[in-house]
């Protein structure tokens, strides 16, 4: 308490930062969501504190709305996590990295964890022929998939 920072603001900022660390480092889908919720706690705490400082109810009211949205978000996140779990039987966030560039290595298997194999669920993308060139009958217009040596365990 050096007189210029309200101590609750200190806690709220610390909570926000710790939540960020949790979100960045945890690989469990549910714990990532919980870390995000912790960041929301920090934000709510800051707003309540500012309301107290300003002698105003608006901070608390806003936090109530944040709470409402957090509840919605938690419900939807749970549904999404369940459908993700349904496809891989795992809560590992690293399995869902299909949006990466093709030539980058998959995060799965970078560490020596015994994570289950990933199903290549990337959607099929059509390969366009360069304009002006005749179609080569040998290369079909079917989606091509870079093989990464992953077995398909689609359940």
């Amino acid at each position: 308490m050096n007189g210029s920072i309200h101590p609750t603001l200190l806690v709220s900022a610390a909570l926000f930062a710790l939540g960020a660390i949790g979100f960045l480092t945890r690989r469990n889908l549910i714990l990532m969501i919980l870390s995000a919720e912790m960041m929301l706690h920090g934000v709510g705490l800051a707003m309540v504190t500012f309301g107290q400082i300003h002698q105003n109810n608006e901070g608390q009211i806003f936090t109530i709305f944040v709470l409402t949205v957090a509840a919605c978000e938690a419900g939807l996140a749970l549904a999404l996590i369940l459908s993700l779990y349904h496809r891989t039987k795992s809560l590992d966030m690293d399995l869902w990295s299909a949006l990466r560039e093709d030539d980058l290595p998959s995060p799965v298997g970078m560490d020596s964890s015994n994570s289950p194999a990933e199903a290549d669920t990337r959607p099929a993308q059509p390969i366009l022929t360069p304009a002006g060139l005749p179609l080569d009958p040998k290369t079909p217009l079917q989606p091509t998939r870079t093989s990464r040596g992953e077995t398909t365990t689609h359940v």
Partner: protein, 222 residues
């Protein structure tokens, strides 16, 4: 190793006490509120650290519940009793329980690799602590601006352009404290009536969405 397991909370409590004492010494305030504040906030931070570091996701979720409870305590100390109650109900009562349920169903096969190792903790810590420092600097600069002036409503701008900054109903009346349920309710259902309605609609949409998103599955499985 039961011994070690018993020692851990003890050590934590000892550290807590030391921290509380330290804060007390630094602050030099002798009221009970200050002591409670120091204990609760310290415990909150410790619980948060444990939550993001614990390898067992069930414990981590439980530590998150502790964080929520501590935050509710801080809410109470910041004269927000209704918010504290609501947070406990929503978070500890609903969200944590549901997530725990999911975690436990998903962890039936035992501990999994992805909970054992974290991803780039050093990088994440550097980013997050830089963020923390920035936030604290912001707060500090704000505090320096307002340190010598008594922060009151009169000092705040009432309008910016044509937009009203502070709603009339959000101000506590002379007789009330900030965060009193009466004032909160009056503000919610007068100034923020449309927002309340929209929030309700949002909840409805989210529940429908969650039902639609949830995978069809056989009975008793996830």
């Amino acid at each position: 190793m039961p011994g070690k397991r018993a020692i851990r909370p003890l050590g934590g409590l000892a550290a807590l006490g030391a921290l509380a004492l330290g804060f007390q010494l630094v602050a030099g305030e002798q009221n009970i509120n200050g002591a409670i504040y120091v204990v609760v906030s310290t415990f909150c931070l410790i619980a948060a650290v444990l939550m993001i570091t614990n390898r067992n996701p069930v414990y981590a979720a439980l530590w998150f519940a502790v964080v929520t409870l501590c935050v509710c305590g801080l809410f109470l100390l910041q004269s927000a009793p209704f918010l504290a109650a609501a947070s406990i109900i929503v978070y500890a009562g609903a969200i944590i329980v549901t997530f725990l349920f999911v975690i436990m169903l998903a962890q039936q096969s035992g501990s999994s690799g992805y909970d054992q190792s974290s991803r780039q903790p050093l990088f994440a810590s550097i980013v997050a602590f830089t963020l923390l420092g920035t936030m604290l600097m912001t707060f500090q600069s704000w505090g320096e601006q307002h340190a010598h002036t008594q922060v009151s409503e009169a000092a705040l701008p009432k309008t910016i352009g044509t937009a009203t900054v502070v709603h009339a109903a959000s101000r506590p009346t002379e007789k009330e404290q900030v965060g009193e349920l009466r004032g909160l309710g009056r503000a919610l259902f007068s100034d923020f009536l449309f927002s309340v309605e929209i929030a309700g609609t949002l909840l409805l949409i989210a529940s429908i969405g969650a039902i639609a998103l949830a995978p069809r599955r056989a009975q008793g499985t996830l």
